[in-house]
């Protein structure tokens, strides 16, 4: 329980001033005679000296830290995203403070305050959609913000990394339309979120291009949390003219939706063709394995971290930046042509 050595301990043990030790620690900040540098390094080693982050932060005014604000780590999508970001950040000598919002704007606001207190240089977030003014304030205080997966259109000047939501939803829908399905259920995220809206847009576009009318009843936007996916499945299947295919475009609701299908004994793909937005390995462990839109989490993580670090180092030109990475459609065996198995 002895206290850790400080830079002054090192300085006196090495017979130099603290300035010299500091310059050894931060080579760019000034010259040091090679002999003294070696001496200092040896003393540092001997004493097991490590600079205290708080002192440096206080002095330089900001921390080599990025905040990561995700909705829910228990959700594999966010968990994998966090994993990759934490991992990648480490190799850049940057620490990550993880906060979760549970999709609650209040908790999100809280998180931002906390990160502000920590003087983080940047924040990567999957915003709830609220707290517009709070995000703006964060930016005005010099914190670099990157939104990943979702965005808030009202906020100009925030970098965004997402998958090609419109296109992904369009491709999934076209695939089903191509199989002959004309009544396709869509379970997506809240329309208050950009992903929710974009995926509806893609779904609509696919229908338009084939001149298939869209029945609004078939579109269900459900919250990310809770059991909305299962309920939406239930109510879609209870429709008088029930859909012959379902696209679950709300990643957080995939398990809930599939569970409901299993519970109700719905045979896939005979009774219902299914495509889900997900990338969890378990989607190939069901029978049949599910056709998925695979979200390239690694790419999302990489780009968002690169953006935020680039901003923090001022290495990026001004102006908002949007990066859209494309998501693969992975057909497996959860869809079948409508003609071969007419409904009922």
């Amino acid at each position: 329980m002895k206290k850790a050595p400080t830079i002054r301990d090192v300085a006196s043990a090495a017979g130099v001033s603290v300035s010299v030790v500091s310059r050894v620690l931060n080579p760019e900040s000034g010259p040091v005679a090679p002999a003294k540098r070696d001496m200092v390094l040896r003393v540092i080693e001997d004493l097991g000296y490590r600079p205290r982050a708080a002192a440096r932060e206080l002095s330089v005014g900001h921390a080599p830290t990025v905040g990561l604000v995700v909705a829910d780590l228990a959700n594999p999508f966010f968990a994998q995203l966090a994993d990759r970001i934490v991992w990648e950040a480490r190799s850049h000598g940057v620490q990550v403070v993880v906060m979760t919002t549970q999709e609650d704007p209040h908790l999100e606001a809280d998180s931002l305050d906390t990160l502000l207190d920590r003087s983080v240089g940047g924040v990567i977030a999957t915003p709830t959609g609220a707290n517009v003014e709070k995000w703006a304030r964060l930016q005005s205080l010099g914190v670099n913000v990157v939104f990943v997966d979702r965005t808030i259109p009202e906020l100009a000047d925030v970098d965004v990394v997402s998958i090609e939501n419109v296109d992904s939803a369009r491709r999934a829908t076209e695939y089903m339309l191509g199989l002959g399905h004309t009544r396709i259920g869509l379970i997506t995220g809240p329309i208050s979120t950009s992903t929710g809206r974009s995926r509806i847009q893609g779904y609509q576009a696919a229908h338009d291009s084939r001149s298939v009318p869209v029945d609004p009843q078939l579109i269900r936007d459900v919250p990310f949390r809770g059991d909305g996916g299962g309920d939406a499945v239930g109510s879609l299947l209870a429709l008088p003219d029930r859909p012959t295919g379902i696209i679950v475009a709300n990643t957080a609701q995939v398990q809930s939706a599939v569970r409901r299908l299993v519970q109700t004994g719905t045979r896939i793909p005979n009774d219902l063709s299914v495509i889900v937005f997900d990338d969890s390995p378990w989607t190939e462990l069901t029978s049949p394995p599910l056709s998925i839109i695979r979200q390239p989490i690694g790419m999302l993580a990489l780009h968002s971290l690169e953006l935020v670090l680039g901003r923090m180092q001022g290495k990026l030109p001004d102006g908002q930046r949007t990066i859209e990475v494309n998501a693969d459609f992975v057909p497996r065996n959860s869809c079948s042509p409508l003609v071969l198995t007419p409904t009922r």
Copy 2:
């Protein structure tokens, strides 16, 4: 991009000294006249003042922060654990710095150094099993350490929260033995980890109590990372006298193992009875739904956080503490009696 107000700005704006503002901020540290308190609070509100964490940390010598060192956030087990811990910590006003080790002792050592630099008051970790001296040093520096899920026996004085590993493995094994299986494969974690050893011990105990001999060939300890689970399944099934049941007691390898079973067309439970250690919702989405040992992640999170916070506040009596929470066995449909479906 204007700079944030400091405590001195608040003091002068409120017409008081910094001492008073500080006492308003930390009520326990001294009295303040109600009128002045209100005044200060109003100014704080007006200016949008927030104390800087770094300054406080430097002054008090430690941070209201716990480090969380997990192997791999992409693994749902750790992800859920992290989620609960982060969540629970917030309600205590404590922040969590998450680090991942990817099961690599070097990265683990790195992480500990980083957390030390941050002056965290405590660390919750799923240790790799190495870095014994490093953990000890951390403790000697006054950092409270709590191991969760796994432990390192060499380290006395470290609190541990885990599930009843021996007992859980014993119950799963007894269940299978009770169904008439006598050749039961066990896929567990590395014997270098406490969980790996304990689960083998429970497996052994169950056999002993029924006087069924244990064939060492049937026990496979595989690393947490990589595809060892699938490979172990493959080699177990290739055995001349292949097992009629398998217990996957390595949570991280469950998906890999099940994937191999699916790929090889093994019929569950007809060809093989299966029990896995897991708690992911997807285990009931396979067909048949898998019988599981459910790890009570919420309890692990709660207890470990309570322990570490309790230590940090000095509210706990001295002496190492071990908490074992029990894990439920949830029978579903992946096991069948041996007598009804003889092998081959």
